[in-house]
Symmetry: C2
Subunit: 239 residues, 2 copies
Amino acid sequence: MTPIRVTTPGGSASPGDSEDLNSRLRIGALHLFETRGFDTTTAEDIAQSAGISRRTFFRYFPVREDVLFSDHAVYLLRVEQRLRAARGEPIRVAGVALDPLVDGLVADADFVTRRAVVIRENVALRDREVLWLREYQQLLGGFLAEQDLGARSAIFAQIVAAALLAALSQVIDRWLAAPGSEDPRALLAELVDEIAESMGESGLRGRGPGAAHPERTGVVVINSRLSADEIAHLIEGAH
Amino acid sequence: MTPIRVTTPGGSASPGDSEDLNSRLRIGALHLFETRGFDTTTAEDIAQSAGISRRTFFRYFPVREDVLFSDHAVYLLRVEQRLRAARGEPIRVAGVALDPLVDGLVADADFVTRRAVVIRENVALRDREVLWLREYQQLLGGFLAEQDLGARSAIFAQIVAAALLAALSQVIDRWLAAPGSEDPRALLAELVDEIAESMGESGLRGRGPGAAHPERTGVVVINSRLSADEIAHLIEGAH
DNA sequence: GCGCTGGATGGCACTGAGTGACAGGATACT
DNA sequence: AGTATCCTGTCACTCAGTGCCATCCAGCGC
């Protein structure tokens, strides 16, 4: 997956930039896909549109589909950095680490929305996007697997990672469907919060209290038919 | 994805059966992959091993990789049936609906474990497996989306589906790594339970009480430094 | 200036996946 | 019988992806 040539030696920062070869390729390709359709556009066509040879094209993108996803190669690196740098409650850290991705997509809105249209109409592109998103999932999964998530930690690491990525995917979908109607980053934060609270350190009968967020206090009650006293009694007998 | 020819008109039931063309192909292919490696085995080779022409092979499996995954086409149907038939708390229903898949894999253990070895060593096969698993996820996601999961129902449907499928994936991985050490179906049930409890109707500030599991009572307290009275007070002020 | 070296590119040729079109051949139905 | 239908094989074609080699263009030391 990784060997997309990012071609950002130190200069042009964001994937929305223009005028390096990578950008010429992805923009030219998108335009071709929009007009001619994905599977009637050959690698040769794309290469020509950027003024390079077919052979060179495949040196930049080992798989033809990837010409639309070069940004992910960049975002993945940023997400990885965030994971390495941040500290705190693991699940929230993992969730927040996805911010650069969301920000990047929003900043590159024009390209991203047009790309989404093309992707929606083509199976190969949809599949390829799934595989790219899975890269993030593995990243988060790997990170969470190194943390202690209580009982069944290794398993839950993957489950939580999957949940987080599904949340991300939904956030992006919503944003694409109705741009501007909701702040994607805020929505993601909200969902991450809920996931962290429900599957986090205390949500799944894992370990004791007092780890990362000692000041945080939360109470969840299921079946409010019990009186407060009864609940208090239950709590006293619990731990 | 779907157009794999299942070739089970009404006769041979389980994917582990032999002697229909489909089985000859997948077994022959597996053997070739084991000995010669996946990417040095051409579609022609596989076709020959089953005594058919290359063209016919591609009529059975539009994508070469799929020759190893024909069982999923069957399992997907069964899972879908289970979803349609069962009633109860949605998340548990969705989780339990995966049982036919687990059972099928276990029943077909020889093939499945050998396949796993081949898959592990090849990117194209790994990717293809991911895409197949995603089919289940979409199935569950679609089902859950029709249910009412409380606030943000549409979003949580996808998140829960992803979590369930990650659980399934972990269960299978464990079983493959140490067959017989743990009952995969029991482990899956356990994980589904935890997911249902944490992300279910009450886990995520959704709707009121009294739906599917009215008798169930649970209390979760984060930060036990508070006294029981303080907590009771918090609760009284909550709803 | 010159020569050298390393990386990026292009051209060429080759394998193999996947597909459309057509032609038998078997089977089932009447 | 005749005929419609489904399955299969053959042929031919496009195009993705790759290895090999020649070339070109920096940069750098001298």
